[in-house]
Symmetry: C2
Subunit: 259 residues, 2 copies
């Protein structure tokens, strides 16, 4: 029997499932399970999988980590992985220390002057992975990642993140505009990176919480998001170069205080 | 009749040919010719090419830019492009403002406290392209690129450089160790980036010329090069991240003074 959607039990359950990251692909799942910090809630396998050594390894690790192991019809597995052509009959729901909804982050931010990256339409998985790697290594408290209109966590992203995805602070949101409005109401400065801006990054030193918005690889920050941003800044460039790779821009922000 | 190899005429000719960058592939050559700053010395075409609109465009632009247009047997063209499987019957010798041998750079450096990146075994073309893009946009006076043991200029590199390759200061060398020794004799500080180093980048502020050595994506700076470097520095990282993408590291160096 379903619980009513406004009950505390339903909300708690929804919070729990929202906090899981589902990944797929045999090598990807195996490598994830080999990371100490990674907990696994459920391992999903297709009934149609033939015996394979890598599957044995995955199942063994999942058991060691206390996961439920569930076998599905092929179609049902595809609905879980959302990528039938690349899941190779394997998906896993991971519990990751840094993966949460932005609402959870806002409820208990780690500090007052937190610094976030917000990704507005980043579509290239390698860029997303590199951004995660640099943000995780640098001074960034969270990466605001919309569930739509952007590259999603997939094996390419995980590879480009060099495994840092599993410990990176990733804040999911349904819609970036709504989430940014919410952060703004809570006092965060919203700052769009744009090569057309008049002010340089070096002059922007917010004392409170700040969110740096990085836009699509070709089109930059989208109009509705740009309108919300009270700060627009650029990184000065030589030799008539018009733009930097978005992952490079993310890294310059993440490391600006340790250069 | 060949000139003796020590004659002034021979040396001048060699200098000229060393200053040419040969690229290949139809789209790559077309896009290069569409860049204003790009001069073309020779356009090479395979006899076997069938008529195609893009070839007409290439030939028209090459004529406008005053290039010699030379038709070759297919095998001869492969020897020029050095990449028979991807040249698509087209190669071009370009004259680029920033492309030179390191000896030419050393003979007339643009300033006393020049700052270079040296690439020691960078094998991923996307990384090479991104490094070129960031270096060209940032405060880097040259990219020291060995002719062997590293990714070479190819269509993937050009794409990842977002066209900046054609104006980037690229200093070719036959052998990185020899070139670095030469720079050291001329007073440049040699500095290896290494995640195992004890000193942070932020503490390294050389007053004179400096060369930052970036190593292979997996193995880092090679032993013989590492031995030459009197400075070893790291970029401090959070969350147990062990290394940054090499193109990100390059960007942090290129932009360290404008953050």
């Amino acid at each position: 029997m379903n619980q009513p959607q406004d009950s505390e039990a339903y909300k708690a359950k929804k919070r729990f499932f929202d906090s899981l990251m589902t990944i797929y692909g045999r090598k990807t799942v195996l490598e994830a399970l080999q990371e100490k910090a990674v907990s696994i809630y459920r391992l999903h396998l297709a009934n149609s999988n033939k015996r394979a050594e890598i599957l044995d390894q995955i199942i063994e690790l999942a058991k060691l980590k206390g996961a439920d192991i569930i076998y599905h019809e092929r179609n049902a597995l595809s609905r879980i992985s959302k990528n039938a052509s690349q899941d190779q009959g394997v998906a896993a729901d991971l519990q990751l220390p840094g993966y949460q909804t932005y609402e959870q982050f806002l409820a208990t931010p780690p500090k007052n002057n937190y610094r976030l990256l917000a990704l507005d339409g980043i579509t290239n998985p390698q860029n997303l992975g590199m951004i995660i790697r640099s943000a995780c290594a640098g001074n960034i408290d969270g990466i605001l990642l919309p569930l739509k209109g952007a590259a999603q966590i997939d094996p390419l992203v995980i590879k480009a993140s060099a495994g840092t995805l599993f410990r990176a602070p990733i804040l999911r949101c349904q819609n970036l505009v709504d989430a940014l409005k919410d952060f703004s109401r809570h006092g965060a400065s919203l700052c769009a990176l744009s090569s057309h801006a008049h002010h340089n990054l070096s002059g922007f030193r917010p004392e409170g919480a700040s969110i740096y918005v990085l836009g699509n690889e070709t089109h930059g920050v989208s109009d509705p998001v740009f309108q919300l941003c009270t700060e627009k800044i650029k990184i000065p460039m030589n030799n008539g170069v018009e733009s930097l790779n978005v992952a490079v821009t993310a890294a310059l922000i993440a490391f600006r205080d340790v250069m």
